[in-house]
């Protein structure tokens, strides 16, 4: 839902780095999106297509790497991956849980042509 703001941020950061690197253009942008980040890659792509026009990133491809939602059970120590819904620990049915991964939204790297 708020992908417009984060996409603007990606573009801003990529432009900044391209400038530092004296790049001719940005060719690829690598992103990591946690499944619990609430960010949908299709939406990022949608806004990106509109935003990147007439910028140094106009032909850049976005690459999305999904980071799974990992849950640690604080009772039995089991670690498991969530699909959609928050579910109790499959090993011991506990709801005493801690999120161990999947909240990130990271600009990992970019590739530029010089």
């Amino acid at each position: 839902m708020h992908e417009l703001a984060v996409t603007e941020e990606i573009l801003h950061k990529a432009e900044e780095i391209a400038l530092q690197e004296h790049a001719l253009r940005v060719t690829d942008i690598y992103l990591q999106i946690g499944k619990l980040s609430g960010i949908i890659d299709e939406s990022v792509q949608f806004y990106w297509n509109a935003l990147c026009e007439d910028t140094i990133c106009a032909q850049a491809n976005l690459h999305f790497e999904a980071v799974p939602a990992l849950i640690d059970c604080k009772d039995c120590g089991n670690q498991y991956e969530l699909d959609h819904d928050l579910i109790p620990c499959p090993a011991c049915s506990s709801m005493n849980l801690k999120i161990a991964g999947g909240e990130e939204f990271i600009l990992k790297s970019i590739e530029v042509e010089k």
Binding site: M1, H2, L4, A5, V6, E9, I10, K13, I17, E21, A23, L24, T27, L36, S37, G38, I39, D85, L86, P88, M95, N96, L97, I99, E103, E104, F105, I106, L107, K108, S109, I110, E111, V112, E113, K114
Partner: protein, 221 residues
Amino acid sequence: MPTKRIEIVQDILNVNDQIAEETNALLHTKHIFSMNIMASPGAGKTSVILRTLQELSPLVRCAVLEGDTAPVTIDAEKVSGIGIPAIQINSGGDCHLNANLVRKGIQSLDLDALDLILVENIGNLICPASWKLGTDMNVVIASIPEGDDKPYKYPNIYRGIQALVLNKIDLKPYVDFNIQYFKDGIAALNPGVEFFEVSAKTGEGITAWAEWLRKKIHDLR
């Protein structure tokens, strides 16, 4: 043409978080306690805020930043109607407030004359969770008619909060709302979060909530 790969590994929300940290530091130099209030539309954010202000004011000097997606001043007028400074922040259609909007809003307040700033976020259980505003505390106001399954459906919003206020408890007799199920969901996401049951309509539970808040404000000073 030569290409070059540049490693970055930067959290995209970092820029927002930086502004949020600056705001928090500014408010602390002025000994102001601040709170980001999130909820779905219709949970009773403004009603709970009004009740809370009536409980705390005038001993605690309060102000409210009212976030709205459109330039409507309904909520801000309600707050200024009881003599509390209210600043309208229009998010321009965005589904959440961000640190920059809050920073701008705060500039319109007399920070030397305040102990508490409440920020009423946009009514939404998804997006506000991702955007830090620079407040000391995040709170969700839930309400009985929304249903007891919300922590399971919108987990993100419950994760970074320090208190949950369950509003409209006067409606308990009329709605199938399993409080234990609701609490279990929140405990899984955020163990040890403070839990208050209130009714902004009858005033039930407001004193306990306001007392807790008063203590937090006092601790900061």
